[in-house]
Symmetry: C2
Subunit: 216 residues, 2 copies
């Protein structure tokens, strides 16, 4: 998945440079259900309509945009129920990754997790929810990476991309970081102990809590 939007020198594949459209959506620069007109996008990004078209097909497959026959494309809106369903899938898949990571991670990687844990603790103590949210994502990403389960990682990245909008809301909720933090620390500890069963349980407990929070 070439999400690297680095059109700097070669500018060889403009269609890949259009993965910046993906970034635009992920960064919330496109309104929730904004219409995506191919011509406008083509002009905006300085490429041809065919490239935009290919990019939109890609994004549709990733569940980020919706395309209706002869009617155009919109950025897909994820309802709360969908967000819950997605998070349920995340729950079991990340549980799998955590269990694998507990077995497969190197000692250096374990140290990285520990480091992240202290950083997150500090972020919560300092009352910086944004920093915490970023560290949060980094932690989950590292666990996925250390699992070596490429299939699960692919699926999870696809799922996570659909949740950007809901994630922000969650991080800013008062009291939420505190609960989240303790759950994460349990998770890290389980992986450090190289106990796959405990790691999976911890991850599922955490995401169960996220689901409850999502339901408001």
């Amino acid at each position: 998945m070439p999400t690297e939007a680095r059109p700097g020198t070669g500018e060889q594949a403009k269609q890949h440079a259009l993965a910046q459209l993906r970034q635009a959506i992920l960064h919330g620069e496109m309104a929730p259900a904004q219409r995506l007109v191919e011509n406008e996008l083509a002009e905006q990004f300085g490429v041809t309509r065919a490239s935009i078209r290919a990019a939109l097909i890609d994004l549709e497959a990733q569940g980020l945009v919706e395309r209706i026959r002869n009617r155009g494309s919109r950025v897909r809106v994820v309802t709360v129920e969908e967000a819950v369903a997605i998070t349920e899938c995340r729950m079991v898949l990340e549980g799998l990754c955590a269990a694998k990571a507990a077995v497969a991670a190197s000692d250096e990687q374990l140290a990285e997790l520990t480091e992240l844990g202290t950083a997150m603790t500090k972020a919560v103590a300092d009352g910086e929810p944004v920093t915490y949210s970023e560290l949060n994502q980094e932690l989950h990403a590292k666990v996925r990476e250390f699992s070596g389960q490429r299939t699960a990682v692919d699926l999870l990245e696809r799922l996570n991309a659909q949740l950007v909008r809901h994630r922000f809301q969650l991080a800013l909720r008062p009291g939420r970081p505190q609960q989240s933090l303790s759950e994460h620390l349990v998770m890290i500890e389980a992986i450090r102990a190289r106990d796959p069963q405990a790691a999976e349980t911890a991850v599922r407990a955490h995401l169960t809590s996220v689901i409850e929070a999502l339901r408001d």
Copy 2:
């Protein structure tokens, strides 16, 4: 995901008619690593290259074909390790579905599962591995359907599509249907008992056994 290939009357969207390419791959009509030249496919299916192109992008997102810059497309070959990784993901996701189905299924739906169980028992007794394999898939599909978890179902269908080639090999292995059958019956019983925990455990036990079988 409009995989409905029904070009019968309108023949309106040729690009959708090209989802028959998907069928061709799934039915094994394309060699394992066969080259897929856009021009050839365009002529073969009687559509333009642009449509084929869009279809290939779709199939790439589904993990069925591989596309390399300026080099073309091939049908993706799934190694044994990948098949194991995919099945691990299936394991946790189907576990989720089974747990949900145990709670959400109607009594009629439970009856359907029971019926399938007896049919599978008969197929094994009669020594018909092909019939058994079909019933097997039907059972898994029904469990997914009854769960009402659309996200998980989408992911699972994507994953299953990548396993077609390996599935056949497995079903024809001597002794395999017998073991598989008993695992399936446990699974059905757990769902009928409306015990989500037991259902998830049963599914995971079954797919763990499949993974071991995959490893030869």
